[in-house]
């Protein structure tokens, strides 16, 4: 087990380098740079001053030198400062000499995105597991087909269209939910209970809409897993032993069918960290997706690189944890790993 772990961790180093290379390559597809933003298109901004900016950010050096400089800092977890956002640190914040702590851009955005997506994942799983089990038990029945149809309709609606329709219906036509944003304007003055209610009401749409979209995949996964397990010998044995169907399905079969879900959750990590550019834009949520989209439009290279690298690195770590958890939970795999 330990050997396996070490091997996996060591593998992450070349992969991280690969990720940073891909990110760096993509960035240099861009013809524009920071000196092209709106402010720069001003007669009072001389070309000379823009050249100075380029030097400041090393944009005048050869690509390979830029990459080297960047890599050197990255090892120290220093992803530099944003070009566009008043030189805010990209990843972690810093304290200036007066003791004011400025939060880093990713440090601010990541918790918001993680919270929304973890809630979404929890809701998706809560809905998908029972739906998948029902679909498997009633395989090819009308229940199975309605579940499939419902899930696919959810998957197929363009998310921003559904969002706008619901924002109108729930926020304008009926005054049931706030339309956009994370908090009410008077959030600071609320008591704890009101704060909780306020946050919850702001989160309902941005959390629920993407979960409905993600339902189809996981339900199918659970359904197929259940179908597989229900045909296996130990289930037949259990049935033959006279265990009631309920016990067979919910204690023996489900447990085995759910194991591979760990892997699926691992695979969904890029989405959890990256968030949804579209949902965050529509609902005015300052998360990772919005941060990345703005950075792309502003050609804010340190932020683009930072998000791609940190996002991917966290994904690698997440996958590792998922694999280890899987190995630990499944005796068959555990034995296999120990041997290998």
């Amino acid at each position: 087990m330990l050997k396996y772990l070490i091997k996996r961790v060591l593998w992450m180093i070349p992969m991280l380098i690969g990720i940073s290379l891909i990110s760096f390559f993509i960035m240099h597809l861009a013809p524009g740079d920071i000196t092209n933003n709106e402010a720069a298109f001003n007669p009072k901004a001389s070309e000379e001053s823009r050249q100075k900016l380029r030097e400041l950010y090393n944009l005048d050096k050869p690509v390979i030198v830029q990459y080297g400089l960047w890599l050197k800092r990255m090892v120290k977890l220093d992803f530099g400062n944003s070009f566009a956002s008043h030189q805010k640190p990209v990843f972690l914040g810093s304290t200036d000499k007066d003791g004011n702590y400025t939060k880093g851009l990713i440090e601010e955005a990541l918790p918001i995105t993680l919270m929304i997506n973890l809630l979404g994942l929890a809701i998706t799983l809560t809905l998908a597991i029972p739906l998948g089990v029902i679909a498997a038990r009633k395989y090819l029945s009308w229940q199975d087909r309605s579940i499939t149809l419902f899930n696919f309709v959810g998957f197929s609606i363009p998310g921003f269209w559904l969002s706008l329709l619901l924002m109108y219906w729930l926020g304008v036509a009926n005054n049931w939910l706030p339309i956009s944003g994370l908090h009410s304007l008077n959030y600071e003055t609320m008591d704890t209970w009101s704060k909780f209610k306020d946050s919850l009401s702001h989160l309902i749409m941005p959390v629920l809409i993407p979960s409905v979209t993600g339902l189809a995949g996981i339900t199918l996964f659970v359904k197929n897993g259940m179908l597989d397990v229900l045909q296996q010998d130990f289930i037949t044995t259990a049935r033959a032993k006279g265990l009631n169907e309920h016990a067979v399905v919910y204690t023996h079969a489900l447990r085995n069918a759910l194991l591979p879900l760990i892997t699926i959750v691992g695979l969904s990590i890029p989405g959890l960290i990256g968030g949804s550019v579209i949902a965050e834009t529509i609902f005015a949520i300052p998360g990772m997706g919005k941060l990345f989209y703005d950075a792309v439009l502003m050609r804010d290279f340190p932020v683009i690189m930072g998000i791609l690298t940190i996002g991917s690195a966290l994904t690698l770590v997440g996958n590792l944890i998922a694999d280890v958890a899987y190995a630990w939970a499944d005796p068959r795999v555990r034995r296999g790993v120990m041997k290998g």
Binding site: I19, L140, T148, L149, Q231, V277
Partner: protein, 279 residues
């Protein structure tokens, strides 16, 4: 083999519905130049934002163009983006998967690590950045979606190749001294085609949705060329007023993507040995 599979899949009412949807959507898109009541680019500034009527079944847009005609022509673009993007990703997937699964060894490790790397980067971010940097055009959009979604097919093909290699007929050919290329193209590839088709069908669905998402962000197919994504985006500002501008493209995307998913899922089910026994 493929036709048997299709027959089997179509015995499921949902997949049948999916098949019919795709068939009709394709037919309409193909026939767009003949069935469109108007030139999709014909502007009439005196007929801006007209509600659906006998003259304009789906109303008119902000420049007085006929929405129905734009939907039909836009459908061609949306479907084209989906098909070509998936064509690209499938081609890459087959090549890399075949190399990986057939030769194994270090090249397999290398390709699989590359797959892992690509899977760990949020793919929509990659697409967004590359399209913004290369400027959005139909061709760039197709290429970028293709180049960021080949990982699934690669894994699939590799797994097929690995398991097929163990089968007797492959082992026998190899023993008889068949060349690599012959083995790959006559035995391995044809036998792994079915799962590839299934995954492609599902891939088209995602690509059509992806195009509409990119349009929302201003990085989709660009005006004045119509696509379902950009008609929908145009209409989003007036969703409760000029509802026809968003309802029709929204429904078109919904129904088409649904059709692809139902068909793809039906094919996957049919492929599964379980479904035979349950019949």
């Amino acid at each position: 083999m493929q036709t048997i599979l299709l027959k089997k899949a179509l015995s499921n009412p949902l997949s049948k519905a999916g098949f019919i949807i795709i068939f009709v959507v394709f037919l309409l898109a193909m026939l767009a130049p003949w069935v469109s009541p108007y030139d999709p680019d014909y502007i009439n500034v005196k007929a801006i934002l007209l509600a659906p009527s006998a003259q304009h079944w789906m109303g008119t847009d902000g420049l007085g163009r006929d929405v129905l005609s734009r939907m039909l022509h836009g459908g061609r673009i949306s479907l084209l983006v989906g098909l070509v993007a998936v064509g690209i990703s499938t081609a890459i997937g087959i090549v890399l998967g075949a190399i990986s699964g057939y030769y194994r060894g270090w090249i397999d490790t290398l390709i699989m690590r590359l797959v892992d790397i690509m899977l760990s980067i949020p793919s929509f971010f990659l697409i967004l950045a590359v399209i913004a940097f290369l400027t959005p055009s139909i061709i760039n959009i197709m290429i970028v979606i293709g180049f960021t979604s080949w990982m699934g097919v690669t894994r699939l093909v590799r797994a097929e190749f690995l398991s097929l290699s163990e089968r007797e007929f492959v082992q026998a050919s190899r023993a008889l001294g068949a060349k690599d290329a012959r083995l790959i193209f006559t035995h391995l590839l044809p036998n792994s085609l079915t799962p590839i088709i299934v995954s492609s069908v599902l891939g088209v669905a995602s690509a059509v949705l992806m195009e509409s998402g990119l349009s929302f962000l201003g990085l989709g197919v660009q005006a004045p060329q119509a696509s379902w994504g950009n008609i929908l985006t145009d209409g989003k500002e007036y969703i409760q007023f000029a509802w026809w501008l968003s309802l029709y493209p929204g429904m078109a995307i919904l129904i088409t993507v649904l059709g692809y998913n139902l068909l793809g899922e039906g094919l996957r089910d049919a492929l599964d040995p379980r479904s035979g026994s349950s019949k």
